[in-house]
């Protein structure tokens, strides 16, 4: 079952998806459902991928939080507690058929291919009338809660604009109304003028730990040109995006010499038909490590009050991260 229930106190939808309790949990490498099916494999040894090999593949999640058509909700809504069907799409993006690799170690041309796949999935999902927001993300590492080790990301196509995006969009709209300028134009201008929080850059993209970072190593990727979605990249911007993405991923792994866990999320304009020219595409990374051996937990203040406490200064962490190999500061 999956449905959405309205929380009137926070004015947010909560998805219930009880079938996900039974989802695959850390299977052994030789029984990975996201690896190709071996040629001639018996039925019981078939994986979720009906092919003996693949380059990049995308499949609908076996245990989706959202689906279309969605089942009828388990409970009836009321005026206080509206309930809706969990309409949407949940996809899994398989970066490679190689089980033990990560996105970081993919050659640049394969990351550029992945960007094209993300663009295709965004355009496809955005064209579906029940989809208001396409959210591309990756959860990496057991400490994030990943249940399958195979290198993959995910895409959720929501039937509403999720609250974090809505908060950013509302702020950008108000900023535009008050100043006549775009919020992310001014953020990027100020970060470039200051310079202390820039960690990598090329002709089309800037990687930085923003002034308002909540995690010690919270890197954002921002396009220099105004873009609202991933489908607006020029070919050069796409290649430069792949380059700076790989650089940031390499820096994460080189920081302490292990494969860094993280959440990577893409914030884009909604696909509900509205005008979001004041908003800007960008990527945010949330690595949970605050030191090599210590994690940042979302505890009372963060979870209960919505107030993040960052134990570090973004200016200090950015200098440290900028100097981790590979050094990449193209004009």
């Amino acid at each position: 079952m999956s449905e959405r229930r309205w929380n009137p106190t926070l004015e947010q939808w909560v998805l219930t998806a009880t079938h996900r309790q039974d989802r695959t949990f850390l299977p052994p490498a030789d029984y990975c459902p996201l690896c190709p099916t071996a040629p001639g494999a018996a039925k019981e040894y078939e994986t979720d991928i009906p092919a003996p090999e693949y380059d990049i593949a995308v499949l609908e999640n076996k245990f989706p939080s959202l689906r279309y058509p969605a089942p009828v909700p388990d409970v009836e809504g009321t005026e206080l507690y509206p309930v809706g069907p969990g309409e949407g799409v949940c996809e899994v993006v398989l970066y490679t058929q190689q089980h033990n690799e990560t996105l970081t170690v993919q050659p640049l041309h394969r990351i550029e291919r992945l960007v094209r796949v993300w663009q295709d999935r965004f355009a496809d999902l955005a064209s579906r009338p029940f989809v208001d927001y396409v959210f591309i993300f990756e959860n990496k590492g057991k400490v994030i809660g990943v249940t399958i080790d195979h290198p993959h990301g995910q895409i959720y196509a929501y039937p509403f604009v999720p609250p974090v995006a809505k908060t950013e969009i509302d702020a950008a709209r108000r900023y535009r109304e008050c100043t006549g300028r775009r919020l992310w134009d001014d953020i990027l201008d100020e970060e470039l003028r200051d310079g202390r929080r820039i960690v990598a850059s090329n002709a089309n993209w800037v990687a930085l730990i923003p002034f308002y970072a909540r995690y010690p190593y919270e890197v954002h990727l921002m396009p220099r040109r105004h873009l609202t979605t991933i489908t607006e990249f020029t070919k050069t911007e796409r290649w430069d995006f792949a380059r700076i993405l790989k650089v940031v991923l390499q820096k994460y792994d080189n920081l302490w010499g292990f494969s860094m866990p993280y959440m990577m999320v893409m914030h884009q304009a909604p696909t509900d038909g509205g005008d979001y020219d004041f908003y800007r595409f960008h990527v945010e990374f949330y690595p949970p490590h605050r030191t090599e051996t210590k994690l940042k937990y979302l505890a009372g203040s963060e979870s209960g009050a919505g107030v993040f406490i960052n134990d570090t200064l973004p200016e200090v962490k950015a200098e440290e991260f900028r100097n981790v190999e590979p050094f990449y500061m193209e004009p």
């Binding site: 009906p50 092919a51 693949y54 380059d55 593949a57 499949l59 640049l108 041309h109 550029e112 291919r113």
Partner: protein
């Protein structure tokens, strides 16, 4: 880039993406490999 769509027995769709030789050459040029 080409996309092949396969529907599994349980109704779920898998998209297989493939990339042609021309793209590979273009990649090599772009990446200066």
């Amino acid at each position: 880039m080409e996309k092949q769509e396969v529907t599994k027995e349980d109704g779920r769709i898998v998209y297989f993406y493939t990339f042609d030789d021309e793209t590979e050459a273009e990649s090599a040029e772009e990446t200066r490999e």
